[in-house]
C-alpha cells in the first residue's frame, strides 16, 4: 500500500510537472475562449452586413410583399426590362436580382434569382414562402374560400401527459433526460480519449527509459498499473478542473470587457426556446426538480470513475504490450468502437425504449454500461439492475488491471518484438 501511494504521487507529479502539460492546461482555455470570441465576432460581422436585393417583378403583384429586414434591403427595378436590371445589379454590386415573369392565373410563375454567389438557404425559402403564401391565398379566394375563415378554424391541440399517480410531466422532460445522459456520455468519452492515452504513454515510458526491470524488481506490477491509472486520473482531474474554472472566468471576463454577448450566438436554439410556452417552461422546471438528483449525481460519479478506470486499464494493458507508441495503432479501434457503440445505443435505443432488451443488455456490458446506464437512470432503473451493472463493471476493472499487470511482467522479456493478439493470449498463460 505504501508503494502504491508512492507510485501515485510520482505519476501525478510526473504528469503535472511536465512542461507540455502545464502549457496545455493554461493554453487550452485561452484557445477555446479565443475561438468562441472569434466565432461570435464573425457571426456578428456576417449579420451586420445588409444585402441589397433588386426585384424585377413583371407580374407587378409581389413587390409590395417584400419587407426590408436587418439582413436584406429590397429595391424595386420592375420599371425596366430584365437585361437592363441585370446590368444595374452588376454595376452596383447588389447581392442579387429576383425576377418574377408575367404569368397566367392558376399557374405557377417561373421565378429566377440571379446572383454571383449562391444565396443562403434561409433567404431563398423565405422568398419562396412569401410568394407561395400569396399565391395560395389568391387561389383560395378564386375558389370562393374565405381566408380569414380558414385561419379562424385552425385548432392547436396539446396533449398533457400524466402518470397514474397524477404527476404531470411534459414532452420536454424526455429531452432533459436525454441531454443529461448524452452530456455525461460525451464527457466520459472525451475524458477517456484524452487521459486514457496518457496512461498508455506513461506505461510505455518505463520501457523506453529501460527502467522497467529496476521498477519491477521493487514493486508488484499490479501496484504499478493501479498507481499509474490513479496518478494520471488525478492529474487529468486537476487539468479538467483548471480548464473549467479558467474557461469560465475568462469567458465572463471577455464578455464583460468586449461586450460580446456570447449567449446571442446560439441563434437557432434560442428560437426553439422561445417557441416553448411559458406553461411548458414551468413544467420543465418542475421536471428537472423532480429528477432524482442525488441518485443521478452519485451514479454519475460512480460510472464516470468506473468507466474511466476500465478504459484506462485497457490503455495500460495496451501500453504494457508494446514498446513504443507507433505499435499501439492496431489496438486503438477496439477501444474506441465500444465507446461509440455506447453513445449510439444511448441515443437510439434508450430514448426509444429505456427498458427494452437492447438498452438493458448494453447497460450491463461493462464496456458500454457507463454511458448507456447513465442515460437510462433518469428514466428510472431498478436497484438490483444498477447494483448488478456496477458490480460487473468493478469486477471487469479488476480483471483488466490484473491482465495489464500480467502482460507488463511478461512484456519485459520481449523487447523489440511487436506483439499480436495471439502473443497477448499466450502471455496471459505465463
Amino acid at each position: 500500500m505504501r508503494n502504491l501511494k508512492l507510485i501515485i504521487k510520482r505519476e501525478y507529479l510526473a504528469r503535472v510537472k511536465n512542461k507540455a502539460f502545464v502549457l496545455m492546461t493554461f493554453l487550452s482555455p485561452l484557445i477555446l475562449v479565443g475561438m468562441i470570441v472569434l466565432i461570435a465576432y464573425l457571426v456578428n460581422l456576417n449579420s451586420n452586413e445588409q444585402r441589397v436585393v433588386a426585384i424585377n417583378d413583371e407580374s407587378e403583384q409581389f413587390v409590395g410583399d417584400f419587407n426590408d429586414s436587418d439582413d436584406v434591403r429590397f429595391i424595386d427595378l420592375s420599371s425596366i426590362d430584365l437585361e437592363a436590371a441585370k446590368t444595374i445589379v452588376k454595376e452596383q454590386e447588389y447581392f442579387g436580382l429576383l425576377y418574377i415573369p408575367k404569368f397566367q392565373n392558376n399557374t405557377v410563375p417561373d421565378i429566377q434569382f440571379f446572383a454571383k454567389e449562391a444565396p443562403a438557404f434561409g433567404f431563398l425559402s423565405q422568398v419562396e414562402k412569401t410568394i407561395g403564401d400569396k399565391l395560395t391565398n389568391q387561389q383560395l379566394l378564386a375558389r370562393g374560400i374565405d381566408v380569414n375563415l380558414i385561419e379562424a378554424s385552425q385548432t392547436k391541440v396539446e396533449i398533457g401527459i400524466q402518470n397514474f399517480s397524477g404527476e404531470k410531466t411534459s414532452k420536454m422532460s424526455t429531452y432533459v433526460k436525454m441531454i443529461f445522459g448524452g452530456a455525461a456520455g460525451y464527457l466520459l468519452m472525451m475524458f477517456i480519449i484524452i487521459y486514457g492515452n496518457m496512461v498508455m504513454r506513461s506505461v510505455i515510458e518505463e520501457k523506453t527509459n529501460r527502467i522497467i526491470e529496476i521498477i519491477i524488481s521493487s514493486v508488484k506490477p499490479i501496484h504499478l498499473m493501479l498507481g499509474k491509472i490513479l496518478g494520471t486520473s488525478l492529474a487529468g482531474i486537476t487539468q479538467f478542473v483548471i480548464w473549467v474554472i479558467l474557461g469560465g472566468v475568462m469567458l465572463s471576463l471577455v464578455s464583460i470587457i468586449a461586450g460580446v454577448d456570447i449567449g446571442e450566438v446560439h441563434g437557432p436554439q434560442q428560437q426553439a426556446m422561445e417557441q416553448i410556452s411559458d406553461n411548458e417552461l414551468q413544467q420543465l422546471v418542475i421536471d428537472i426538480a423532480k429528477l432524482p438528483m442525488l441518485l443521478l449525481l452519485v451514479s454519475f460519479l460512480v460510472y464516470f470513475i468506473g468507466g474511466y478506470f476500465l478504459y484506462s486499464a485497457i490503455y495500460a494493458a495496451i501500453g504494457a504490450a508494446v514498446d513504443n507508441e507507433t505499435d499501439t495503432q492496431q489496438f486503438m479501434l477496439p477501444v474506441i468502437l465500444p465507446l461509440m457503440l455506447g453513445i449510439y445505443v444511448g441515443f437510439f435505443a434508450v430514448i426509444e425504449n429505456p427498458h427494452g432488451v437492447v438498452s438493458t443488455v448494453f447497460s450491463m456490458v461493462p464496456l458500454t454500461s457507463p454511458i448507456v446506464m447513465l442515460m437510462r437512470i433518469p428514466f428510472g432503473v431498478a436497484w438490483w439492475e444498477l447494483a448488478l451493472s456496477i458490480g460487473i463493471l468493478i469486477l471487469t476493472i479488476a480483471g483488466v488491471v490484473w491482465i495489464a499487470a500480467k502482460i507488463y511482467r511478461v512484456g519485459i522479456l520481449m523487447y523489440g518484438k511487436k506483439p499480436g493478439y495471439k502473443d497477448l493470449y499466450k502471455w496471459l498463460k505465463y
Binding site: 526491470e213 529496476i214 524488481s217 508488484k220 505465463y430
Partner: protein, 309 residues
Amino acid sequence: MDHLLVAENVSKQFGEFTALNDVSLEIPRGSIFGLLGPNGAGKTTFIRIINQITLPDKGGILLDGHALRPDDIRHIGYLPEERGLYKSMKVGEQALYLAQLKGLSKAEAKERLKYWFERLQIEDWWGKKIQELSKGMAQKVQFVVTVLHRPKLLIFDEPFSGFDPVNANLIKDEILQLRKEGATILFSTHRMESVEEMCDYMALIHRGNKLLDGEVTEIKRRYKSNTYEVGLMAANPEGLRKELEERFRISDTEFKSINDDLKLQIQIGEKSSPNDLLTFLTSRAEVNHFVEVIPSVNDIFIKTVTTNA
C-alpha cells in the same frame, strides 16, 4: 557451509526454448559469486527468477534458508543489464523515489543518499535531470540506488559495461568494500578478467545447463594440466628440444625475456613432480624461467564451452 542463496533444480522453458535446465547453485554468504556464460546462456533468466520477475517452471530458490517470498525483494539489490532511469526526473527525486520503493523512509533515504553522493563525488548532480547526464554518470546513480537499502544480496548484471576504466575501478572498489561490510554479491558477466580479479566462487552456464561450479582456486586446480613454461639457454637447442620431445609433451610458447632462449611449454605426467623436471633441465641447460601454467578463467571458459558444444 553457510549459504545465503540456494537454487534447487531450477528449470525454465520459453515455448520450445529451454532457458534453464535443472540448474542447482549454492552461493556462500559473504562471497563474490561469478555467474559466467556466453550470450544467451540463461544468466539473466536465472537472475530474474531470483528477483521474482519470472517464475521457474520447476525447482525453487531458497534465500536465507526459506523459499523466496514477495517481500524478499527488500533484501535484494539488483542492477540489471538493461538499465535506465526516468529521463525527465531529477536525479535526487528519482533516487529518493526508488529508495522509498525498497522500503526506506524518506529521511533515511535522504541521509544515505547524501553519504553516497559525497562518497562518489556526485553531490552537484542532485538537481539535474537524467537526460542531462552522460550514460556513465547515470550508471553511477543507478549503482547508488542499487546498494542504498543495504541488501543482503547484491546482484550485478554486467556492472562494468558503459563505465570508463577509472569509474569501473571505482565501482569495483565499492563492490569489494560492500562485501567487506557483509553483503553477498552475485555477479553475472562474460568479462573473464573481472571474475579472475574479484570472484571467490563461480559457476558456468551454457545453453541453460550448469557446466561447472565451485571455488575459483579449486576449479583452477582441477583444470591445471601440470604444464610448465620454461626458458632455457642451451649449447645445442635443437638437440635439447629433441631430447625433451621424447620424454614430455612440449610446445613452443612466447614470453618476454632479455635472452635469446629456447621458450617451451612442457607438460609432465600426473605422477612426476616439477622438481624432477627441473632437475632434468638443469642437467642439460641453464634455466632462466620456470613457471607453472595456471589456467585462466578465460581458458577454462573456452575449454568447457567448446568441449560441450
